[in-house]
Structure formats: structure tokens, C-alpha cells
Symmetry: C3
Subunit: 659 residues, 3 copies
């Protein structure tokens, strides 16, 4: 278990450096992340490299017996590169990303890739064996701020090559996409457009799905290229890249991205910008579990909120005690290394309102002392459990191809959500909601990519929105249930194949026998609540309301809404299949209904749970020496968790002997 | 009376075709619409034509003793055309419509027109005399999805030519537009811009009006060009084009468009996309009457909702019984041919969520049986009345130049309504509201282009928002009223001339004597309700509140709103003129107030009406053999219409002997 | 005191002119503003000038013993200029401003500047000594409709030159901007971009601040260039330019703009377009005071609302009596010349819905008679006081650099407000709110540029949002307070320097000692109301909530909001400093709370105030002969101001002997 800070010595004076490291060390920090925006500093003119600045800083870090993570600074590039090769710029929805902000790079650009390759090579040569260096962060928040989609001509050319490689002939491409539809049959690879801005009707969904896959492959390749250089020239150092918040279910296949890297890291901001409230705590937990799940082991928070952040606009101010709580929650949910963003608040630049541990001056803040104390409190326990496996009998499964599919085809307006114009994360939010119902019941829960999970390790698997199916997964799930597992399926299950074609069978397609139902009719009700009854308990659901037709299943819940003609029809069913069972949930439930449903499922499956109100989270961890019950009070009031009284924002860790 | 389906054999396998036609035939269908998106299929490379696919399909259609309507497939074009001539692409608000969606064609492009001409010629030659072919649909939903406005350079060049033809000299153009205003005086035709995207202040309203007229002429010409080819090469076949939903009062002069065609057809979707409720039934009826009125005779529904539709997002699910109701409503309001969209749901492409009669598989659905039964029920009656004239003593009159004018100059925010960014249909909605008040009183009502109507056939004419006047129409109306007719005028009447100049007289301009009032002051209140009293009954109005100054008129209603300084001033007046009378309505009334006002007007004019609540529609039709009273229950509950109890979504047809 | 009208003889016939001037004269008008959109009229072809039209009009004006203000017609240019030099066009957010609207000129364009220079020279030569000419209005509403920001390539080139002139070397620029941040270090002037449209993260705030300053300088230079020509060729005529509504705190430094001109003028529309209510009266007053304050003396309203206005859409209709009230309010707040917009309503062009004194016809309207009477009523008094100084013991201070800063970095969403896409005027609105609290207490209040004000003339200075400090101003304020003045500071005081760097000291930076507090923590609460208590009185605040840490200050108000952890912490403090005192207000108060706070401050400072409810405004003026108490009833109901009963919209002027 390590703690550290994100440090920008280049933004301060040489007089500051030693003092800064001393202040960090006193706080309990031993790691600094450096250099991730310093391309212009180390290559001020094309081909003219000078890493002496960072060499000096690394020496100093070593002198303080601290360690460094170096960022490869490819997240912005120097103006000279853009001036020489305008094609290195991304274009998004008609706007060319010009010099002056960040994340402008077109990942398909040969010129950009070559420049990045040379830079990383030189940097690895110059600094890669420095004794203070322990790890590399490749790029920074790759894909963030909409940079996972690139509509530039350079991207288009690469997209065509990618398609050529995938489909070999246009005949296969036309057949796979169904180009006969609306008569958009390609007879030259150069006719293929980029599915970008359009006035009205959108592009073929199969094409958009491929475009997203292409964008993902391009980014993954770019990271892999850097990883290969670093492996060679900086032996013994671990590799990662830091995912942006929320890193959730984007266009990029993050599990694939990390295949060539050693550990996952991400940037955790429970509140940011003009948010008026922090995310509900289960949403922070599911983000941790998403990152934990990518390699199914402990991870790093590369940027952990330490202050109060935003670019032009700010919002919620974390209350005293809340910042240390979020730090401890990260550890409880699987982090074994935390770096705070950022050591001191920048006086200039786009982040001059991104408050770090210290303010613009260098006076020690309340936050400094709060985190110092928090580190001291958790360290003894964290050293025992933080790097150990996170125990769980339940997993919620996500799938990148379905994430992509629902981004361009949400089916219900309730599955659309665009917090910023360039992101559509309704699916992500829905997945988080399915996870939250378990988190609130204090059930340790994994959140894993469906295609890479060993199902047999879990008593209960929850697989919502698994619309675009992979046959191998379906088959494995069938074996899992047959052998006694409990599978929870959600609406839209089994609707499509990997080419984006609707199956010529009703929902839930290949799950029909397992689930013991079929779906001939559904309504897309948006955010409108529709009433139903689960046993004797009334509840509401929304987004999509499927009318389930039980074949072998028993009915667990029915619609009761007078406004709907399907009042009396089933919405949740349960089916015995082999030694196991399948619960099918035909709508998106209100969180309270989710909780009630999960209680029944967990009880049937023999998984323990508890409930201490909406503000308490309880997590179980197993250390090398002991087991731990960790109670987190996410509220500004004292609350009871059973007999325990937790103070505001208190995190209580109760060690138990291992049995 | 015929029934059919929109069929896409190219999206299925040869093995399906016979089975498909058999299934249709069993359902009661005898017509298929084919080929309207198949340009790439029949001309896979430039100049290489192959119509054998459709020849085979037509043979099969003939074998089943069914008939075919062929679409000329100009609504999308093959990628090779765009690749060779990028100028064939439309541009809308800065976005070039590229290959991959539909409706991209620049109708001003000589290259596009030439390619389309050649295609239609070849298609007519190859298939035009096939015995199974009965009719042609030219293009598909022409002008839909914002394609009625084209900001491309090619469009600009054509606009300048159009202006040159209209105005001959720039002097006349400058004078007509009032170019001296803001000093935008043109001294070269090439200086004239396209009135497209602008940062702030808009273009000259006279110019925009001309631009809309130019766009309309361009589309009308394109359809006429195709019609001329088909007349020549496919003798004996009727011609139409299908208007998109809602086809209402757009930029294109649809009456002009159909002048060269044989019958009107349109696509009827009472619910679509993420709509959470279907349109109120009077809005569906006014759309039928709009289409009926374009040629003032029976029409075809080329795409009639049969399932549950949307592109990326869905909404309201039609209830059991509702789909057959909508089909029967179409017939009652004037359709004598209905094709359902679509036979089977596409598995791929942008319409994979556009559910048709059958789902993605080929199992016969509830909808199939519902429509089969519905057809059988109505056919005996429909065969008698469907193609006969639709009797009406009342007409609501619309006018394309006023539609255009209110699109770019709505005067009140209450007359703006943009369901999608590229459409502004506040005026259309307002016209529908004026119609709805009559529909709800079960008065058979025509909805007709003001300039083409024989006024003397009606007891009551309703002419709302007739702001931009045509002198000939005013004169004819004067004669009509003098001779005993009843004319209902709305706010903003008689404000402008055809050049877009405000008249130098107060509203209602040339109607002043007829209406017996003048208007010196008005307020634009947006959606805010303003109170008034009509006789003893309180009501509300909105959008625009004119303060009427009676000269010879009597006051029927006055404002009563304490918030307004014009409390006590007249809002509705009635004036005797010759043997007739003119009612002037100075505001947009709440639907209930409209109903109350119409009751008085109808009673005075000796037109019968009834009211069975908001969900019942009653229509009178006159057949060759008998007369019919048709009762439609548009609700999911049983209701009473007088002594008759109508079941949910029931359509009851009561034949009466002709007197 | 003069009255006049904006007159467009070019839009009417020669037969109208004499009659028009007669009608104006009869109404009490003696001035006409002419020609400001007539470039195309006077230079129909490049280099071909003909001013005979205006010469004739000026003769006529002289004959009627009236006077004329001529506009230099550079606010639109003729199509031939755009055709010849497309680079004269502005580009804003990706949209090129083309011919057909107005305000298209790129002020950085040498071609445009040269054409404008030649035009103004010729116009001044031709008309500059006409006896009827008394004054020039340079351009029209310069910077309006978003034209103060230009993203064109021509603008970019000029921006680089401006930077070169300011910074001399890129080293200095890079250091000043903090280019090391995100590694955007420039090594060639041509690498510098325009801070225009961006997908996500914005440009460096120091750069944006400079870009705004550059845009301001460019416009100021353009006006200066015209002024120099006119001074030379039209001696003895006064110079102005008319600011657009609201002219408030824009990107352009208006105080600088007027330095070379003789008097300020602006366009006053208390209601415009689709506004459903007029601005609250204090907002109209603060706009008058803003304009008065730019030169700290009487000003002209160049366009005073006389009718009912909007382009495509209208809204609130001024009630009878309200138009004369607004005219009198303008005089009471400092105008000594008023021209009504416009004499007669245009029949064509973009302003055909901009109703003037007369309607489209030439019948004398109610408005005509109302204004005629209003002029006659106020003239005797206005002639005594209108051109005299406006007495005030209190001033609210604004600062253009802070206006710019909060436009691109509002800190709180509560300080963002975009009534149109191209304007962000949250700061302006907030400044108006701080002023309104004084206006409602009937305290004569100046509204002045902080950098140009003689502080010692005032008992109370209110300086809100003074975030970006100028050291000289801080020093002068220190002297002012030391000597006994009362200074009211607002939240975010003293946060930044002029380069846009955050100071390395906590808020309020250099004001810390004066204010006796420091701020370590604040929350940005947007529009959410947060409770506090000022003495015994509860109130709410919003936008930003600073937690004040008193050092020498006493606490005047504390947060009381249970939802907030800072409940009990100070929000308003008061500090004695030298002989004076400083009140620090750590949040944006609700108007009622502002009023209560100001009452205490004014009482302490010995400034008189009164309160007659939200609709009465009382202003004190001092004439050459007498003093005046002016009472304005801004409501449609009778109200009491003490013992005086004011009729609806009445303005009562009570002369008092000078003591």
C-alpha cells in the first residue's frame, strides 16, 4: 500500500522542490507522478531532446527516498508538431481540435505516431533506468473528453484500412452490414464515409459498431506501441495508463487496453466541476470495481480527489472528513496505491481552479492534515489487505460491445444520458444502477467484463442489457446455470448478433430456454415510472417495459399500472434450469425495487447481505493476517450500523481473526 | 378499396418470397410497394443497369394475382455517384449530407438530375409495361428530414438563376426585397447569398420567402421530370409520390407537386420514435384531410403503421386494437388504398427497430391477425364509400405562402415549435388546432389550399393566420360572404402582401370592411394563457392577443385578464356583411374555447354537430349504395356515443339508406 | 435637453419627407438621426460616391429648423465589398457572417478598414460642414450581436501581431501565460491559435483574457480612426457612437472607446423580442448609469423604445403610459438627449416588426400622443437639470478586465447566463443586482469604471467581484478607507493578477488587512439558495458561498443552512480600517437581503435612503435653478410614495428651492 501525489515541479521554482518533497513526505507520501504533460519541455524543437530537467527531479526524489511514476507526455503535443503536420489533429463533430487545449491527437495519424514513438524511445533511454523510477503511466486519460471518436480525414483513411483487413472484400462488408438497406452498397473502399455529423437519419448501426471497434483498436495499438518501447528500454518498471473519470463502459475496450500493461489505474473524482452533489457512494464503488475488474486485481488511483475541482466552474465543496473517507473507500474497494491530485494548486493555466492538497500558496491546509491523519489510520490495515484479492460471491457483468451498441441505439430515451455533448452514457448509468442494488445490501460484488470471467467462481451472476450476444458466452452461462448457478438477466437480452443484426427469434433469443420466457412486445417508456407488484410489494420500473410470456418460468412480478394495457402481465420471472435458476427482469427497476428483488435472489442463492440505510457501506476484505469488516458512513450525520454508531464520514475497520 | 404492404424482397432470401406473398395474401392484401431504395441494386456501377431482380419479383407478384407499385429509387443514390460528383450532396446548416444515410441529393444539381433521369428512364423501359405493375411512386418522402432546405453552393447557383428568371433585373429585385434596408443592395447576381446559418440577425424576410419558393419549385420540377418520363414509357400506370409524416404545410407547395400526378399518398404514423403518446386523433384526421384536400379526392396511405417504430429510440407501444382502429380511421377520413409498413421487420440497417406486421422472425403476430380481421370487417362498407367524395359543409383553409412566412417569422414564440432541429412547425400545429375544434364536434371538415378552393360549396370557411394575402382570394371571399357565407378569420389576417411587405393599413388590411374591425395593438404572449370571456363562459387564449377595435362588428368575447391592460377589450367579434357574416378571432383559443365558439358559428350557419366526449370521432360518408355513420372510439376504455356503447378502440359503422 | 427620432427617409418616398418632418416637429422633436445603414446607397459601386441624397435630406432638415446626427454607415457594407474581398467577413464559432444580415465586418481586415476609411473621408468631405449637421454617430451598435468576437483567420493574424507588440518575445509570452501548463509552449508566433470553438477543455485563461483585450483594442482603434477623420473634416460637430442594449460590461472597454469621443449614447429597450416582461426598473437604471458613468456626465439615448419591437418574434406590449415613463426615467437617470426608435415602422426588411412611433401606415398613434404629452410635461424641468451633474454619494464600481475574466471563467454556474448563444452575461447580471439594492432604496448611485474613479468623492463605494486586481486601485482604496471611506467588497475579491494568475495568497489577497478576513474555503452553489442570518433577519444567498475567517473583522452575518457543513460560519463581516470601514460580502445575496445590508451600511455612512415598495423609484437631481425630487411609479396600479399617491406609470417631479 502506497500513497503519493501528482506533482508538477515544472510549474514551480527550483527553490520549491526540496520543500515540496519534504511536505509530501511529512504527510505520509512516498510516490510522485511526474511529467505527463511535458512533451514541449523535453522536445522544445523537433528532434531536440533534453531530459535533464526530469533527471534532476528524479535525483531529488531518490534523495528523499521516494519513488516516481513517469507519464509519457503524449496527451498534448508541442505546437511545432501541429504547425508542421496539421493532419495530426483530431476532428470531432465538425470541430478541429487545435493547439491550445489538450487531447488533440489523431491516433490514426502516421506523423503523430512516429513523433510519439520517437519521444517515448528517447525518454525511456534517458530516464528509463533511473533508480527512483518504479513505473510508467502511458499517456494520460486516453480517450477522455470525447477524444475516443475522431472524424478526421486521417481517421477515415485508417477506418477504411481497418475494414479492409476485417472484411477482405466489399462483398462480405456489404453483406455483413446489410448495405442493401437504403441502397448504400459500396463498390470501392474509398466510398466508405466516416459516420460523423448528420442532419437527420443516422448511419447503419452495423457500421457505427465497427467504427467504434476501429477507434478502440487504434487507441489500444497506440498504447501497445508505447508499452513495447518501455518494456525494452526501461526494464523492471511496471506499466499502466490512467483511465479518466468515469472510465465506465466507453467506446474503448479497456480490458483489451490493459492486456499489455501491468496494473490498472484511474482518476477518482466523486465530485467535479459544477456538480452540486457528489456521486452517490455506490456509483463511486462501481467505478472502483470496474477498474479492479479489468485485471481482476488491486489497482491504483492515479488521481484521487484531494481538494475542490473544476475548469471554468466549480460546484460542491467536500465537507471536512469527506476527502479522507473517499480515500479509504478507494482502498476498501480495491486500491493499493493512491496518488492525490494534486500536490499544490496551479496558479495559471486551465486548472487554476483545480484545488489540490495545498492552495495556491504553500500554507498547510486542513485537507493536508485530514489526509495525513487518514493515511496514518488506514495504513496498518491496508498493508495487510490492500493487495490481496477482493472476495466476492456475486458479479455484475458488463460487455463493451453492448456498451457501444446502446450508445448509438439506446432503444429507450431512458437509456440516453449526455452529461456533456460528446458523451452518451445512459447505458453506463444503467449498469451502475444494477450494481448499486447489491452495493447497498453490503454484498461484496465484482464488476467484470462478461467475456473474460470465470463464471463458476460466483454464486450469482447479474448480466443486464446483454443484447448483443456472443455464442461462447451464452454456452458457458448455460453450463454455469445447469451446474447450479443463479443468473439474473435483464431486458433486451439476446436480441442481436455481433454483426448488429437482430436475431430471427424473439427476445431473449438463445436464453429463451434458460429463462423459460419469450418477449413479443415491449414499450419504451423513457423516464416515466410504471407500476408493478413484486410479491405483495408495490414498485415502479421505467425505461423499457417488456411483456414477458412465461413458457416454463414462474412469475415473480406483474405490471399493475392502470395506464398500461399490459397491466397484469409479467415483468419479472424465475425459471429453474438444470440445478440452477434464471431470473429475468423485463424492465429497469427503481433502486428500492432492485434491492427487494436482490434480497430474494441472494437469499435463494445463499449469499449473505445486510442493510444499514442508504448512507452506510460495508465491505469485507481478507488480508494476509486477518479479515476485515469495513464500515463507511457516507453522510454528514452520525448513523447506526447495527449497534455501531458511526461518526460523520467515519470509516471504521474491524479486524477479525481468520477462521 | 385495396390493401397492401411495403415489401423489401431484396432484404430476404429467394426462399422467402413465395411464402411471404402467400402470408400477405392470406391476410387480405393484394398490393405490394417495391423498390424505392434500390438504386444501388439496379445500377451497381454507373450506366450498368440490371432490373432482372425486380422483373422476377413482379412475375411472382403477378403469379399470386397481386399488384405492384414501384418506387423510383431516387431517395438515396449509390456511393459511386457521390464519389464521382461530390456536388450532388446537399448541405444543411453547415453539415454536408454524406453517403451512409438518406435524402442527401441536391435537387439543383445537374449531375444528380441527369443520373436520376437516366435511371428512371431505364427503369421505366425495363419494367414499365409489366402486367403486375399498376402504379409508380416517384422518389420517397421527398423533402423529408429537412431535405427541403439546401444550403449547398450548387443550390445557391440555382437560386440566383431562379431569381434572375423571376425578377429579370436586380433593380426590381432590390426594390421588391427592400434591399435599401440595412444597405444590402445587390449590384451583381453573384453577390446574392444563400440564407443559411447566421450568428445573430436573420436575412431579409422577403428573401427567405423567395428562397423557400425556389426550393419548392426545384422539388416540384424534379418530380415533374420523373412524371414525364413515366407517362411516356409506362402508359396506363397511375403516378403518385408519398408524403412524409407529418406532411403538413411545409416549404414545398404540395398541391403544386401533385398537379402532375394522379393521386396523393402519404405515410401515416400516429406514433413514432420516442413519442410517449400517439397524436390526438383530430391531428391524425387533419393530416388525412390535408392529403385528401390536395386533390380534393380519395388518397392512398402508402405506409400505414402496423407495428412499433423508431430508429435509435422507441416510445409508445400501440395497444391491442389500436392498429386496426388507425387503419379504419384512415379509410373513414378518405383513404381508398392502404399499404402497411412493413411486411416484416428488417434484421439490419437503420430500421431494425421499425417493427412491421411480422417481427424479425416470420411467426404470425397478434398484429397480423388484428389487421386481417380489421380488413375483413371494413371491406364490405369501404368498397361502397371509400372512393366516393367526402361530404363536407365546412372547410378549413391553409396557404403555403403563409406557412412559409410563419416558419421564418412566427411573430410569437407560441407559434414556434421545433420537434427536431431542422423543422419549425408551430404554424402547422396551430392550423391543426383550428381544425381539431371542428373534428371534435363531429363535423365532416375539409382542409384545403385557400387558393384552389371553390368557396361557394361550403356553409362555413375557416381561414386562420391568413397574414400574407392574395388579392384574388380576398375578392372571392368578399363575394362568398356577400352571398351569405360564413367566414371565420384569425389573428394576423391581412398583414402582408406577397412580396412580404407589411401593408400600409392596420390589420386585417383588406378584410377590414368585411370583418368590421381594425387592430392597432397586439401582444405576443407565447404559451402564457390569457383569460377572456365568450358570452358567459370563461376561457383562455394564448400566442397572440390582438386588441380588436370594432367598427361595424358586434363583440362576442372580451379579455378578462387582470394582468393585462387590455382587460375589457374585444377578442372575438362578429360582423354582418352582405348576406353573410364574418367572425374575427383575435387570439389562439384553448381547444375547449374553440369548441364553444364553433358551436355558435355552426348553429348560426345551420351546420349540424354533436359531441360525444374527447375520445369519440364520428364521420359521415356517402357510398354508392348507402350512407354511413362511422363511430370511432379512440380510447382504451368503453365509451358511450349517445346510446351506443363502443368497446375499446371499436369502430362501428352504421349503414343508412340513402334518402 | 433635446428630443428626436431615428429616421430612414431612404425607406420612404420623396413625397413623405416633408410630411414626416412636420409630424415629428409637431410632436416636439427637433433632431433626426440619419444614414447609419446607407453605405450601399452612397457608394453603390466601389469608389463611386454620391451623397446627394443625404445632402437633400439635410437641407430639408435645416428648412424645418431641425438638426441632424449622421451615422457613419460602417455597420453593414455593400455586397460588392464582400464579393471582392471575402476576407472582410467575420467568423464566429464556425459560422462565416455573410452578406444579407449586418455586423459582418472583420475589424482586423486591412481591406475593410481601408474601405471604411475612404467612405468616412468622402462622407465627411461631402456632408461634414452642412449647417443642419450637429453630430456624428460612428458606426452603429459596434460589437453588438456577438461581433465583438471574431474567429476569422484575419483576426488570428492580427491577434499574433498584437501579442508580438505586447510581449516582444515568445519567452515572455510563454512565461506570462504559463504555457508550460499542459505543455503548450510556443516557439513560433504563427503557432498561436485563435481561442475559438473547442470540443472539451478550453484554452488557457490568460490567453483568452488577452484575446478579449485584443478584440477590444481592435474595435477601439477602428472607432478612433473614424473619429480622427471626422475631427479633421467636420469641425465643430460632436462625436459619439451608440452602444447596444444591454451595453453592459462586455468584452470591449467602452470607457476607452469613448475617450476619443464627445459624449456617450446608447439604445434603450426595456423590452425587446420575445421578452414576456420588461426588465425590472433598477436594471434599466443601471444601464443608464453605466452609460452615464463612462464619461461621468449626461448622455444621449440614441434609440429610445417608442413602440413594440422584435425581429422574427415579439413579446410584451408596453401598456399605455409606460413608454412615456421609460422616456422620463432615462432623463431622470442622466440623459439629456433622446431620439425615439423609430419614426415610422418599416414595411419591409428584418425590422418590419420593429414598431416605432407610427405604424406601417402614417396615422398618428396613441403612442405619438402619449410621447408628445410626455415631452411637454418634462421639458420645463429637464431643461434645468438634464445636463447638470448627477449627484451621488454612493458608487458601484465595475471593471472591464473582471467582466472579461468572469465571462470565460465564471467560477459558479450561477454566474453564467446566456440569453443568446453568443453572449455570456452572468457577471453583468450580478453587477446589476448589486446596483439594484441601492436603487430600490432610492439612493442616487453612480456606476463607474473602477480604474477611472475619484474615490474620495463618495461616502460609500461598492466593488463586487473585483477578482483580478490592479495594484494602483488597491492602493487608492486603502487610502480611501484609511481616510474614512466605506468600502463594500464582494466574494472572489483579490484572487488574481492582471496576467490571470491566481495570487499566492488566500482571498481577498491584498484586501486582507483592510477587510480583516481571509477565505480558505468556498462552495459554488449555482442558483441554489443557501440560508444565512444577518443580525436577527433570515435571508438567502447563492452562486458562491465563501467561508470567511475573521482576523480583525466583526461578524455581521452567518450561514444558518442545515444542509451545509459551514452552518455557523461567517458570510458577511465588517472591519474598521483607519478612519473608515470595509464590509466584506462572501456570497451573492437575495435582493431583499442586499437591501437590508445596504440599509445598515448607508446608515453607518450617513447616506440617506427611503423605500416605497418595489415599484417606486425616487431620484434626486440638481438643476441650474432648482433641485428636483423625481418619483416614478413603474407599475400599472396606483401606489403610495409616502403621502403621495402616484397614478399608474406616473412620473411626478417636485421642484425644491436650492438651499
Amino acid at each position: 500500500m502506497k500513497f503519493g501525489a501528482d506533482y508538477y515541479p515544472e510549474q514551480w521554482t527550483p527553490n520549491d522542490w526540496k520543500e515540496d518533497l519534504r511536505i509530501m513526505k511529512d504527510m505520509g507520501l512516498s510516490v510522485v507522478r511526474l511529467a505527463e504533460f511535458s512533451w514541449a519541455l523535453v522536445e522544445p524543437k523537433e528532434g531536440l531532446f533534453d531530459f535533464s530537467f526530469w533527471d534532476k527531479i528524479l535525483d531529488l526524489v531518490g534523495k528523499f527516498e521516494m519513488q516516481a511514476i513517469l507519464g509519457t507526455p503524449t496527451a498534448t503535443f508541442p505546437p511545432w508538431l501541429a504547425q508542421k503536420h496539421p493532419e495530426v489533429m483530431q476532428i470531432r463533430d465538425g470541430i478541429t481540435r487545435i493547439i491550445g487545449t489538450r487531447r488533440q491527437a489523431c491516433f490514426s495519424s502516421p506523423k503523430f505516431k512516429k513523433a510519439a514513438e520517437r519521444l517515448v524511445t528517447e525518454m525511456a533511454k534517458a530516464l528509463g533506468r533511473h533508480p527512483a523510477l518504479i513505473s510508467w503511466q502511458i499517456d494520460n486519460e486516453i480517450g477522455h473528453e470525447g477524444s475516443d471518436i475522431d472524424h478526421s480525414p486521417t481517421s477515415l483513411i485508417a477506418f477504411r484500412s481497418w475494414l479492409k483487413k476485417k472484411y477482405k472484400t466489399l462483398k462480405v462488408l456489404n453483406e455483413t452490414w446489410g448495405s442493401v438497406f437504403w441502397g448504400i452498397v459500396f463498390d470501392d473502399w474509398n466510398q466508405i464515409p466516416i459516420p460523423g455529423p448528420h442532419v437527420s437519419a443516422n448511419f447503419n448501426p452495423s457500421m457505427i459498431q465497427d467504427f467504434y471497434r476501429f477507434q478502440s483498436d487504434t487507441v489500444v495499438d497506440f498504447v501497445r506501441m508505447q508499452a513495447q518501447i518501455l518494456r525494452k528500454l526501461s526494464p523492471g518498471r511496471t506499466l499502466t495508463t490512467n483511465l479518466y473519470p468515469s472510465p465506465f463502459l466507453p467506446v474503448i475496450d479497456m480490458a483489451e487496453l490493459f492486456r499489455n500493461l501491468d496494473y490498472v489505474s484511474w482518476d477518482n473524482y466523486p465530485t467535479w466541476g459544477e456538480q452540486q452533489e457528489p456521486f452517490p457512494h455506490p456509483f463511486v464503488s462501481v467505478m472502483h470495481q470496474y477498474n479492479r475488474g479489468l485485471k481482476n486485481r488491486s489497482f491504483t488511483v492515479m488521481e484521487q480527489i484531494s481538494g475542490f475541482q473544476g475548469h471554468e466552474v466549480l460546484g460542491y465543496l467536500p465537507a471536512p472528513g469527506q476527502t479522507q473517507l473517499w480515500m479509504k473507500q478507494a482502498i476498501a474497494q480495491g486500491a493499493d496505491q493512491i496518488l492525490f491530485f494534486r500536490y499544490r494548486t496551479a496558479r495559471y493555466g486551465q486548472e487554476q481552479l483545480c484545488y489540490g492538497i495545498l492552495d495556491h500558496d504553500k500554507v498547510l491546509t486542513e485537507r493536508y492534515f485530514e489526509l495525513q491523519k487518514g493515511i496514518a489510520e488506514i495504513l496498518p490495515y491496508a498493508q495487510d489487505f490492500a493487495s490481496e484479492p477482493f472476495p466476492a460471491e456475486v458479479a455484475v457483468l458488463h460487455d463493451i460491445d453492448n456498451a457501444r451498441n446502446f450508445k448509438h441505439q439506446p432503444v429507450s430515451s431512458g437509456l440516453k444520458f449526455s452529461p456533456v455533448p460528446f458523451a452518451q452514457v445512459g447505458y453506463d448509468l444503467e449498469m451502475a444502477t444494477w450494481f448499486a442494488g447489491l452495493d447497498i445490501l453490503n454484498v461484496n460484488t465484482h464488476f467484470l467484463p462478461a467475456g473474460e470471467t470465470d463464471f463458476f467462481k460466483y454464486k450469482v451472476l447479474v448480466l443486464p442489457l446483454y443484447s448483443m450476444i456472443e455464442e461462447a458466452v451464452v454456452k458457458k452461462l448455460e453450463e454455469y446455470v445447469s451446474a447450479g448457478g443463479t443468473l439474473v438477466l435483464g431486458y433486451r437480452s439476446g436480441a442481436k448478433d455481433k454483426n448488429g443484426w437482430m436475431l430471427d427469434s424473439p427476445i431473449p433469443g438463445p436464453f429463451r430456454k434458460m429463462a423459460g420466457i419469450s418477449v413479443r412486445k415491449f414499450e419504451a417508456v423513457g423516464e416515466e415510472p410504471v407500476k408493478f407488484r413484486f410479491r405483495v410489494l408495490p414498485g415502479t420500473c421505467s425505461k423499457i417495459c417488456e411483456i414477458l410470456e412465461p413458457e416454463t418460468a414462474e412469475v415473480w412480478a406483474t405490471y399493475t399500472d392502470n395506464k398500461k394495457f399490459y397491466k397484469g402481465k409479467p415483468v419479472i420471472t424465475h425459471n429453474r434450469f438444470g440445478k440452477g435458476s434464471v431470473v429475468y427482469v423485463g424492465a429497469s427497476l427503481h433502486p428500492i425495487s432492485f434491492m427487494l428483488l436482490y434480497r430474494r435472489i441472494l437469499r435463494n442463492a445463499g449469499v449473505g447481505f445486510s442493510f444499514y440505510g442508504p448512507n452506510v457501506e460495508k465491505i469485507f476484505r481478507s488480508g494476509k493476517e486477518k479479515n476485515y469488516e469495513i464500515y463507511l458512513n457516507h453522510s454528514r450525520k452520525s448513523v447506526f450500523a447495527g449497534w455501531k454508531r458511526l461518526k460523520p464520514f467515519e470509516v471504521r475497520i474491524i479486524p477479525r481473526r481468520k477462521s
